[in-house]
Structure formats: structure tokens, C-alpha cells
């Protein structure tokens, strides 16, 4: 027998090496070029007013800033979710088709290390991309906030409002500018994209094609977004007081167990755009939920992948 040491069940270092290689691969695939049109969009938003925006004389001038935030957060959500699906769906089947996986798994690399490494690589790239988009959003929003605030100050001064009242109005506008709560909204989208990447990872372990992985992941993404509405319909009494049947209940339970519920993440993001009260505890809860989903999907992926033959 050999005198070499035994390989551990899971090695964070090895997973890290695979994650770093995945990051390098995605970076050299020039995925960050996608950020250029997004940057243009964010900057371009400065030159357009919302069609309902009535100028500083409007009763709620901060609506202009809400439009900016909603558009930025929506773009970030769309980009990060699609990126999570496509990149994860391309990486593992690509390694199998190219037989790169053979050479990796023929080294002392447990399959869990490989899966976790790939997932961490994708999540790291999403994190960097979102960080760049977040910085862009904060910079452009800050500029827009100053413009709206200055316009409001001028207008209120012209119609004879006192200095204190003007300051209050401007403070109200400033509260809709960059803030910690807005960062919570970005974080919620990052969490959501990470879960979607884990879902795509699971599908790619048993899928036979990239197209199937992408289509199935998109479907789960959509189901995840609307499942709370469906469950509401199935679990609660209907309009005419009809109790949901056993089949409805079972179906609802299965859906809630199998598919992630993205409504919570959307609520946090919406709340962040509207500057609603979001506490640290809410974010910890969301982070815990994200970890739970990712852990479940990764373990399932491992079960499927550990028996896979190449």
C-alpha cells in the first residue's frame, strides 16, 4: 500500500483552487463585458426623467429617485440571475464534454470539492459583478439625489417657503438616496442569484444538455418567484369560504419544499427601494435562508454527482 496521506472528505483548499480557476475562466471569457451596457444604462438614466415626474413642484419629488433605484435593482436582479444560470449551466457540462473533468477527478479530488469549487467560483464572480453595479448605482443615484434636491430647494425658495421647511423637504429627498437599506436590497438580489446558481448546479449534475439546464433553471426561477402566491391560493380559504383539499395541500407542501421561495427576497428589495424599515435581523434571516437553500441543493447535487459515471 501507499505511504501517501489519505485524502480528506472535503478540503476547503482544493475547493478554493477550483473556485479560483472558475473565476479565472469566467473572467477570461470576458463576462464582465456585460457590465459595460449596464454602466451605460445607469449613467443614461441621469438624462431621462420618469414620464410621471412633474418636476420639483410635484408633491413627491423622491418618486424620481425611486424610479432610478427600481430600474437599477431590477437590472441587477436580471443580470445576476441570468448570469448565475448560464454560467453554471455551461461550466460542468462543458468540463464533461471536453473531458477536462476526467483529468480533474483522476487527481485526488473528492467530487464534493469539485462541485463546491465550481459553485463558489460562480458566486464569487456574481459578487464582484454586483459590487461593480452597486458602486455604479450609488454614484449615479447620489448625483441624481443632489440634482433633485437642488431643484426642490430652488423651487420651494421661489414660492416663499422658509429655510427650515426647505431643509426638511430636501432631507426627505436625501432619505431616498444611497443608504444602508438600499444595500440590503442589493444583498437580497445577490442571495437570490446565489440560490439560482445552486439550483442550476443541481440540474447540471443530471442534465444531458446545457439547453435543458438553462430552461429548467429559468422555470424554477419563475416558480420560485410566484410560488408564494400559488401557496396562498392553495392553503387559504377561497373567496367563497371553500377549504383547500388534501391534494392542494400536498401539492403546496411539495412546491414549497422543492422550489425556493424568492418572494421574500423580492420583498426586501422592494422595501429597500421604498426606504421601508428593514432590520439587521431580517437580513440575518434572509442570509440564513440562503445558506439553507444553497446547502440543500449542494448536498442533493453531491448525491447525484457522486454516483455519476463518465
Amino acid at each position: 500500500m501507499s505511504d501517501r496521506p489519505e485524502t480528506s472528505f472535503f478540503s476547503p483548499r482544493r475547493a478554493g483552487i477550483i473556485a479560483l480557476s472558475t473565476v479565472t475562466q469566467l473572467v477570461r471569457m470576458k463576462v464582465f463585458y456585460f457590465l459595460a451596457p449596464i454602466a451605460l444604462l445607469f449613467v443614461g438614466l441621469q438624462f431621462f426623467d420618469a414620464f410621471w415626474y412633474e418636476g420639483p413642484e410635484a408633491s413627491q419629488p423622491q418618486q424620481e429617485l425611486m424610479m432610478h433605484k427600481n430600474l437599477c435593482l431590477g437590472t441587477m436582479m436580471l443580470f445576476s440571475s441570468l448570469f448565475a444560470i448560464v454560467s453554471t449551466a455551461l461550466l460542468i457540462p462543458g468540463d464533461i464534454e471536453d473531458r477536462t473533468l476526467y483529468t480533474i477527478l483522476c487527481k485526488p479530488v473528492p467530487r464534493l470539492d469539485y462541485l463546491v469549487g465550481k459553485l463558489l467560483g460562480v458566486i464569487s464572480v456574481i459578487f464582484v459583478a454586483m459590487l461593480v453595479m452597486d458602486i455604479l448605482m450609488v454614484v449615479t443615484l447620489n448625483y441624481r439625489t443632489q440634482v433633485v434636491s437642488a431643484e426642490l430647494g430652488e423651487y420651494l425658495g421661489a414660492i416663499g417657503w422658509g429655510e427650515e421647511e426647505v431643509r426638511q423637504g430636501q432631507a426627505e429627498v436625501a432619505s431616498h438616496g444611497p443608504s444602508l437599506i438600499l444595500q440590503y436590497g442589493v444583498l437580497a438580489h445577490f442571495f437570490k442569484a446565489s440560490i439560482i446558481a445552486a439550483v442550476a448546479l443541481l440540474i447540471s449534475t443530471f442534465s444531458t444538455s446545457t439547453l435543458f439546464t438553462i430552461a429548467s433553471s429559468v422555470m424554477i426561477w419563475i416558480i420560485g418567484a410566484v410560488q408564494s402566491l400559488a401557496r396562498e391560493g392553495l392553503f387559504t380559504k377561497g373567496e367563497y369560504g371553500v377549504e383547500p383539499g388534501m391534494v392542494d395541500r400536498i401539492l403546496g407542501t411539495i412546491i414549497s419544499l422543492v422550489f425556493p421561495d424568492f418572494q421574500l427576497f423580492e420583498s426586501v428589495s422592494d422595501g429597500a427601494a421604498r426606504v421601508m424599515e428593514i432590520g439587521m435581523f431580517d437580513m440575518l434571516h434572509l442570509g440564513g435562508l440562503t445558506f439553507f437553500y444553497i446547502a440543500i441543493y449542494t448536498v442533493l447535487s453531491w448525491f447525484v454527482f457522486s454516483d455519476k459515471e463518465f
Binding site: 500500500m1 501507499s2 501517501r4 475562466q25 473531458r99 477536462t100 483529468t103 485526488p108 454516483d307
Partner: protein, 303 residues
């Protein structure tokens, strides 16, 4: 010394395949196929073993079972005494798949380094090993080039470098010279002979029987999933009732005397005589190497 220091290393076979069976299920019940049928083989440490057979005979499946890439339906495989389905056994193995593809976004040095890191290597030791491997396969000059622009022969050589990076005691090669030109093929063959010289066990599959004959100590012939013949190459290929005498600069009179002697002896028979032929591969290599050296000499003179 490690925990297995008490064991005598040479007693443990490098590869032990014991009555291996591999069935692949079909899409319908009963539609499956048996790719490998009760194959057994044993490769001693330091040996070069060639598994040959037609396409679809079960060579690659046997190899994949040894590497833990497929699960045996029955039987077992072990590498230096360790169950090959366990990850630990792979520390001792370097594998070069047929027509290998690696991450095209990495350079030659990054590729070897990546596989070295996966084996737990790091720091100055890893850097030195990467340099050594690139030198061994003759790719030092291409170390910073990305694999995207590599030829098949270069990819094969980088594949060999990654297979050897952790200094394995067993190297598994699946069609190592597939699609490589004769010059590259010769280089790979020389590398295999070099590995043999270092005491590394080599387990290879190849369609190029001439090459297998040149480098292997033992061969196994597999057909329709069954091992039909196995043994020392010398024993399997020599024709025991014939004798070959090769003479250098023999005059016609001497040849005539030999013919007469055979006739007079009334025992044995002269089956054929003539000039031994060099292989087409040797001729090709001789011509291309000569042409290359002439060109080099001309360009040196001109400069």
C-alpha cells in the same frame, strides 16, 4: 516513513483488476450491454503494460474502472493495494485521456500548476515541479502561451506533464499518440520509455500495435469485453520454431555456403532471406530530421 512502512512495496501490484464486470443499462429493460466481462489483470510495479483490442472491446471502460470513473457491476480494481473507487488511490495515479482537452484559458505553466495544486502541492516545490515537467515534455518555450493555440501534439505533451506533476507511481495513458504526427508520437514514446527507466508503472491502451510492441513488457488482448490473451510480449510474439540470424556485410559466397549447409543438414528449412526493412516511421523521422538539420546549417551559414 509513513504508516504503511512495514509493508514490502514490491509485493503489492501497481494495478490489480479482479474479475471485473461492467454492464451498461439500456434505455429499456433488458437492452443493456456488457462492456467488460470478468476481466482480470495484474500489473507489477515498474512494468509497462499495454491493453490492446478493437474499438468497443472494453479497453477504455476497464481503464475508467481502474481510475474510479465508472463503478464496477461486479469485481474490483485496486491501485497499489487501495480500492480504486476511493479518492485516496488517485494520489498515486497520473492519467492522460485520449485527445485531452484542458482549460483553454490557462497557459501551459498555469495548467500544470493547477493540477499540482489539486494534488496538494504549493509554493516553491510546486514552482520547481512545474518547471521540471515543462522541461521534461519540451514545452518550456510555450510556458506562457494559452492552450487555445496548442497543436494536438503539444496538448498531448501538456497532458503528460499534468499526469506526472504529483510524481505518481502509476501512469495511465489512453491512446497517448492518437492524432499526433510521427515526430510527436516518437517524442511521446521516448517519454514513456523514460518513465519506464525511472521505475514508473505505465498502463496504456493503444491502437498502434507497432508502438505497443516497442515499449510494453506485457500485453493483454481484449475482445468483446473478455481478456482473450495476456502475457509477456516476448513470449506472445516470438515464433518458437523459427530462428533469425542477421549478418552484417556478408559476401554472396558466405550466404551460398549457409544455404548449402542447411540443404546438407537435412534438418530444418530456410524459409526466407533478404534485407531487413526499416519501418516507414523510422524512414520518415530520418528524412525529416535530416532535412531540418540541413536547413539549420544553411541558416547558420547565412547568418
Amino acid at each position: 516513513m509513513g504508516r504503511y512502512a512495514g509493508l514490502i512495496m514490491s509485493e503489492v501490484p501497481a494495478v490489480q483488476v479482479n474479475r471485473l464486470v461492467k454492464d451498461f443499462r439500456g434505455p429499456f429493460r433488458g437492452g443493456g450491454i456488457r462492456a467488460v466481462d470478468e476481466v482480470s489483470l495484474s500489473i507489477a510495479p515498474g512494468e509497462v503494460y499495454g491493453l490492446i483490442g478493437p474499438n468497443g472491446s472494453g479497453k477504455s471502460t476497464t481503464m475508467k474502472a481502474v481510475l474510479g470513473l465508472v463503478k464496477p457491476t461486479a469485481g474490483s480494481c485496486a491501485i497499489f493495494g487501495r480500492d480504486s473507487s476511493k479518492v485516496d488511490s488517485r494520489m498515486e495515479v497520473g492519467f492522460l485521456p485520449e485527445n485531452p482537452y484542458f482549460y483553454k484559458h490557462l497557459s501551459a505553466a498555469e495548467t500544470v500548476s493547477f493540477y499540482g495544486k489539486l494534488c496538494g502541492m504549493r509554493g516553491a516545490a510546486l514552482k520547481a515541479r512545474v518547471d521540471e515537467m515543462l522541461e521534461l515534455v519540451g514545452l518550456e518555450e510555450a510556458r506562457h502561451r494559452r492552450l487555445r493555440g496548442f497543436s494536438k501534439g503539444m496538448l498531448q505533451r501538456i497532458g503528460l506533464a499534468q499526469a506526472l506533476v504529483q510524481d505518481p507511481r502509476l501512469v495511465v495513458l489512453d491512446e497517448p499518440t492518437a492524432g499526433v504526427d510521427p515526430m510527436g508520437s516518437r517524442q511521446i514514446r521516448d517519454l514513456i520509455l523514460d518513465l519506464k527507466g525511472r521505475g514508473i508503472t505505465v498502463f496504456l491502451c493503444s491502437h498502434l500495435l507497432e508502438q505497443v510492441q516497442e515499449i510494453c513488457d506485457r500485453v493483454g488482448i481484449i475482445h468483446r469485453g473478455k481478456m482473450v490473451n495476456e502475457g509477456d510480449l516476448e513470449d506472445l510474439t516470438s515464433i518458437h520454431d523459427r530462428t533469425e540470424i542477421i549478418l552484417q556485410d556478408a559476401p554472396p559466397e558466405l550466404l551460398e555456403q549457409i544455404r548449402n549447409l542447411v540443404d546438407q543438414a537435412n534438418k530444418g528449412e530456410l524459409v526466407s532471406e533478404g534485407h531487413p526493412r526499416s519501418s516507414l516511421e523510422s524512414l520518415f523521422l530520418k528524412e525529416t530530421i535530416e532535412a531540418e538539420s540541413k536547413q539549420k546549417a544553411v541558416s547558420t551559414k547565412q547568418s
